[in-house]
């Protein structure tokens, strides 16, 4: 199993979620993060003082999937998430040692298989 950790633009979330659902992936975990990278934040004025907003709101989408499904998912996500402008984000892929479904105690791939 692999974990896909995708750092994305917040406004893309809904669309990606829909696309994944259509591919049959319903399980995922989402969190708010702040990203820093080549995408430059804005310099704003607050009461006359400059303020550098260099931590930009991003979405982290975590998906644990079977090894065989990684490429298909990566392609789908890239397709939707890409705007071509700096700041589109990254996908990091990690090995997963094991997975357990709390409700049933199933382990391994069956823990992430839906019925």
């Amino acid at each position: 199993m692999k974990k896909l950790e995708c750092i994305l633009r917040p406004e893309k979330l809904e669309e990606i979620k829909d696309a994944l659902n259509q591919l049959g992936f319903h399980g995922m975990t989402v969190s708010q993060v702040l990203g820093c990278g080549q995408q430059k934040g804005k310099t704003e004025f607050y009461r006359g003082a400059e303020i550098n907003i260099n931590l930009l709101p991003k979405i982290k989408l975590e998906l644990v999937v079977n090894d065989s499904e990684v490429e298909k998912l990566v392609d789908t996500i890239i397709e939707i998430a890409r705007s071509g402008k700096i700041g589109d984000g990254k996908i990091f892929i990690y090995d997963v040692h094991d997975a357990i479904r709390i409700r049933t105690g199933e382990r391994g791939e069956s823990a992430i298989t839906e019925f």
Binding site: P10, E11, L13, Q32, K42, E44, Y46, P57, I59
Partner: protein, 443 residues
């Protein structure tokens, strides 16, 4: 002293005063005193009412901010502040003259620009400045209604221009018709505190504005699905509703322009009853319709009751108020859905339904429920037709002028921010700030 006695009095006055003059210096003071006292009572009543109406600006700001998203919250409160700030100046310099200057053809006032001429033709019992502040806060109420309907996507500069125009011209003209001695008032049109003059003008302007802007990004899916975009703070929206309700006790009872008028308590209870019934009706109706009592609709329901009773609060009785409020509470729910789902006009806070639809509705209801002239009290159909005429004329005038106005704005500075800007939020894009610096917000 009654007027009928005046002639007789004058005839004997000379004689009397000669006799009592040297003996009785305080006597004349005493009359002055009485007049001064009644004037003072009217004056403080009107001023305190004006202050309450001013405070409604805070109510609007909170309701509109609460019902929209956090990323646009600074922008919406800024709009609420600025429409009042711009409107106050515009109304002082020009609007007041158009509304209350000497009548020309029943259509518009023509004197008193920059407050230069006198306004004796108004025969005010209160000082002119007190009247001006009272009218200013009313004008600002009409203006501020629109910001909610156009929230989350309107360019700030466009809104500022709109603000000036409505306070300068669009509102004062309707105001002149109904309250400044214009054709509607001559006809016998009853809009005691402004269901039509204030609220419908704001509401119809909101309708045209929201329609011309188009919906917020994400409001309607390509497949026609209507997506809800929940507001960011129901507590602030509720606070705003309470503030509005509170301010309405200045709006309606204050419109007597006299604290000596015994009806002020009557008007207050009518106002309150309609608001309560509006909330009750909206709650029950949404409970049945959606299986759960909808909080934001119930808040709208209270406001709907308030808007609807504003025209007739001095003309109908408490039962009439209850019925009008109750119907308004149901109507607002239907109207919100209709505008949202059928017309596909995106009005984030329900301003069109609350102020436009329920304002017109309440105005027309006076034709049924007015205890002196209403159809249900044997007054025949005349009042009803007059009411309908006033509501229709206001609708046409407002839609037409606002359409021209927004067309000009669209063609020059532009009406709407870009989609990218909308996604990022107006706070950052338009003002370089965020409303909630310390809070983690959802995507």
């Amino acid at each position: 002293m009654k007027k009928v006695n005046k002639v007789a009095f004058c005839m004997f006055a000379t004689l009397l005063i000669i006799i009592i003059g040297s003996l009785y210096p305080a006597r004349a003071d005493d009359f002055i005193e009485t007049e001064k006292v009644t004037k003072a009572i009217d004056n403080i009543w009107v001023l305190l009412s004006a202050f309450l109406v001013f405070f409604m600006q805070a109510g609007f700001a909170m309701v509109e901010a609460g019902f929209t998203r956090a990323k646009n919250a600074s922008n919406i409160v800024m709009k609420n502040l600025m429409d009042f700030a711009i409107g106050s100046i515009a109304f002082w310099l020009v609007g007041f003259a158009l509304m209350f200057g000497k009548d020309m053809g029943g259509f518009v006032g023509t004197s008193g620009f920059f407050l230069k001429d006198n306004f004796e033709h108004l025969q005010l019992n209160i000082p002119l400045m007190s009247f001006l502040i009272f009218q200013t806060v009313f004008a600002a109420t009409a203006a501020t209604i629109v910001s909610g309907a156009m929230a989350e996507r309107t360019k700030f500069i466009a809104y500022c221009l709109y603000s000036a125009a409505i306070s300068l011209l669009i509102y004062p003209i309707v105001g002149h018709w109904a309250w400044g001695g214009g054709w509607l008032s001559k006809m016998g049109f009853i809009d005691f505190a402004g269901s039509t003059v204030v609220h419908s003008v704001g509401g119809w302007a909101a309708l045209i504005g929201a329609a011309m802007l188009g919906p917020r990004t994400g409001k309607y899916s390509k497949d026609g699905r209507v997506n809800a975009i929940p507001g960011h703070s129901i507590t602030l929206a509720a606070l705003g509703t309470f503030i509005l309700w509170f301010g309405w006790f200045g709006f309606n009872p204050g419109s007597t322009l006299s604290g000596l008028d015994e009806k002020i308590g009557y008007i207050a209870i009518n106002t309150n009853t309609a608001a309560a019934m509006g909330a009750n009706a909206a709650m029950i109706f949404t409970w049945i319709k959606y299986k759960k009592p909808d909080v934001s609709m119930t808040l709208n329901g209270a406001l709907a009751g308030l808007v609807a009773i504003t025209a007739g609060c001095a003309a109908v009785n408490i039962i009439g108020s209850a019925i009008i409020g109750c119907l308004a509470g149901i109507l607002v729910v239907i109207s919100v859905e209709f505008i949202d789902k059928r017309l596909k006009i995106d009005d984030p806070v329900g301003a069109v339904s609350v102020h436009g639809v329920c304002g017109a509705f309440g105005t027309i209801m006076v034709g049924l429920f007015a205890t002196e002239t209403g159809l249900l009290y044997g007054g025949g159909i005349k009042q009803l037709l007059i009411q309908a005429t006033g509501a229709a004329a206001t609708f046409l005038w407002t839609c037409a002028t606002i359409f021209v106005l927004f067309s000009i704005i669209k063609g020059t500075v532009g009406l709407r921010v870009s989609e990218e800007e909308e996604v990022e939020g107006l706070d950052v894009i338009e003002h370089g700030t965020t409303a909630y610096g310390d809070f983690v917000l959802k995507p």
